[in-house]
Chain length 435, copies 2
């Protein structure tokens, strides 16, 4: 199809009229669809139903270290859970802490601990400092940004590239400003762009020389095993290994969870870090709780005997998810391809597709979607403070809805993006697009 | 038996020689016993084994509000879990938040939130204040004190009486010092004294007029249902109800958990509070996690259909625990009764017996115990900063060991307390006992 920007004004007006008619017709269907959150669907959750029997009233409930999983004890997690999560993080079991059901909670706690008590490399608890800043590669994960904002951290947006955060920007910022204490990363199948950090990006991150001696990379490897094409998965360089090479082992905290492997409400979360960091944060966790739920850790460890069983399990997830991602691509290609008013990612894993409209058109597109009954992640949510400076990014979350619903919603998103795009072109003054 | 203090010096020396001989004989047995922590034993944990089948691969996993317990959602907990925990807290379900596996973690988080963000009634986050103080009725729970110390709170010891904290002291302190922001309470079968706050104590607490407008009572009702005599249980006045009467609903946060109802590592915790407090703290929890483990909440709610089933279940705990508590009383009465060198509580519920030696004899008693192979909670642990000003309190935790072990350990504790007491009397200068 031709670029819409090459249409004449009258051509655009004709197009607008046609789109409006189509929109009113779709709106009249009274859709009620939700593509807003990265939730697994019922069929995916059913894959892990058998796990609920892996610990039952007849089970031996003693962990490998002899601790009774029903009782207090084993504050760092039971050995088999640490070993399992270590496989996901590509670390050794002793480098991993196995916690409760939420990796977001672990990240929040690490920030909280740094705020109230500092870190192994901090002279001062962060709450005593006049200013703390974090780098936020964007578009990124809204809940990372909410937690950061919550602590009063100043968030600095860093552009995302197909290879990861723009490292020229990152290196310059961290080297020059000692108030910059940390950085969010979703290094694999990133939320929402779906890209995986290149080897060069990981190596440059590991080689950074931050002005803040207590700078921490929050490495949220939430989609470590979440390939859509398991036979040719993206490969991610291990941050901890690279940090060891550069002698900066203390600069990274790695997180993952089984939230989108087993149950989004009842998985297990883990953190991997240097011995110094692990000891430090575990000491604090040991004060705030007597321990995390070891029966759920045991349930997981019994269900997945090793990394291979996780891989096999994730293949079944991929089989369920791939058609939905493909449907979105098919509709986007058909409806938006070549129009030069929208650009999107075609991720090889993870939970999201990232769609960019013409500048200034994301809010309008989503308002039109909402009016026609399709709820999407709010415009701006993928940026710090909920403000997308160019108002163009839309996060598409196709996992939870049915294939049919995904297709219907994608059609509507395309129609709305076109409508907003044509309106914008007719209004004139569309800034030249940088990308 | 006669009071040891009435023995002559030579009588004491004879007694000491006899005790030493007995001690060496016991020591030679090479005991290896642990009465240090309030853990349920294996038989108690077995009572809840069937709960592990109440949610299985064939179960309907949808909560009463329609939320899939395997997925994200229901950040305040599923309705049936809130209802269950509300029965334990004697509140309405909407007054209760159901969380993860640890009430200590909820208390820690409330303190953390107050420190970093303040409370509904705080002008300033507590970390920005020059000084924050907490009242710590003692002897009390060591983990409360560890958390408090961890935040840098100054802990003020308040004496415990058989009716609860000494309210004359409490009222005077909170009314006069606006740096006093909170107070720990274990109102029922208190850790370690086992007493239950009297109605007068609860009413005086609810009627306090603290100098700090954001003063909070941390009401840890950990042993709400943990009667040793279920037919004549202690009755505790509801703090929230009393606070409503005095118009100070926001002054209390109530906590409980099923850690010692079902599984100490894998129970569910809950908080009850005024709507304003609940909304406030839930907003913060909603930022730090997408939600707590709802499958474990469902597991509990299916296993306990109502308060009556909990009560019936707790009767079975009582049957297992009562013989152990009775054994300690029998040995203490036989070995220490009338000697006027030791005084202990005879609790009607909870997990502990509190033993007071002569002033200055707790450390010595426990050192002797340790030397003979019996580990007890460290002397001082029941006081802020781990320092018992009179060095006399010993927490006895008879739940985890077998009945035989409990009896053997109690015998040894008595012998060591007598040894330490006679040594002290021979050394002279025993201060007059206040109690």
């Amino acid at each position: 199809m031709a670029k819409l920007s090459e249409l004449s004004a009258s051509g655009l007006r004709e197009e607008l009229a046609a789109l409006k008619k189509k929109y009113e017709a779709l709106k009249a269907q009274g859709l009620k669809l939700d593509l807003s959150r990265g939730k697994p669907d019922g069929e995916q959750l059913d894959l892990s139903r058998p796990m609920l029997d892996s610990v039952n009233s007849k089970s031996d409930l003693i962990a490998a270290d002899g601790s009774d999983c029903r009782n207090y004890g084993a504050p760092a997690g039971i050995p088999e859970a640490r070993a399992l999560m270590a496989e996901m993080l590509e670390l050794r079991p002793e480098e991993v802490f196995a916690g409760g059901n939420s990796s977001l909670n672990l990240m929040h706690d690490c920030l909280g601990i740094a705020y109230l008590h500092g870190t192994p490399k901090s002279k001062t608890p962060w709450c005593k400092l006049p200013k703390v800043k974090f780098l936020c590669p964007s578009p990124g994960y809204d809940r990372h940004f909410s937690v950061t904002e919550h602590f009063g951290v100043e968030m600095i947006t860093v552009p995302m590239t197909p290879q990861g955060p723009d490292m020229d920007v990152v290196e310059e910022l961290v080297a020059s400003d000692s108030a910059i204490k940390g950085m969010w990363c979703i290094p694999k199948y990133s939320n929402p762009t779906g890209i995986t950090y290149s080897d060069t990006t990981v190596r440059r991150l590991a080689a950074m020389s931050p002005a803040a001696p207590d700078f921490l990379i929050f490495w949220d490897n939430a989609y470590a095993a979440h390939h859509l094409h398991p036979d040719s998965p993206d490969k991610l360089l291990g941050l901890v290994a690279e940090l060891k090479k550069t002698g900066k082992a203390g600069m990274g905290l790695m997180f993952t969870s089984t939230s989108k492997v087993t149950f989004a409400g009842a998985g297990i979360a883990a953190m991997g870090a240097s011995k110094e960091n692990l000891d430090y944060f575990m000491k604090h966790w040991g004060l705030q709780t007597i321990g995390f739920d070891k029966l759920n850790q045991l349930r997981h460890a019994r269900f997945f005997s090793d990394g291979y069983t996780i891989e096999r399990h994730m293949r079944r997830h991929a089989e369920l998810l791939r058609p939905k991602f493909e449907a979105v691509q098919e509709v986007f290609n058909r409806e938006l391809g070549g129009l030069d008013i929208a650009w999107w990612t075609d991720p090889r894993g993870g939970y999201f597709i990232s769609l960019d409209t013409l500048d200034g058109c994301a809010k309008r597109t989503l308002a039109l979607c909402a009016e026609a009954g399709v709820v999407m992640t709010p415009a701006g949510a993928t940026f710090p403070y909920g403000v997308d400076p160019r108002d163009r990014n839309i996060r598409v979350a196709p996992t939870f809805a049915t294939l049919e619903e995904v297709r219907a919603a994608a059609e509507l998103v395309c129609l709305c993006a076109k409508l907003a795009g044509v309106e914008k072109l007719l209004g004139g003054a569309s800034e030249p697009r940088a990308r």
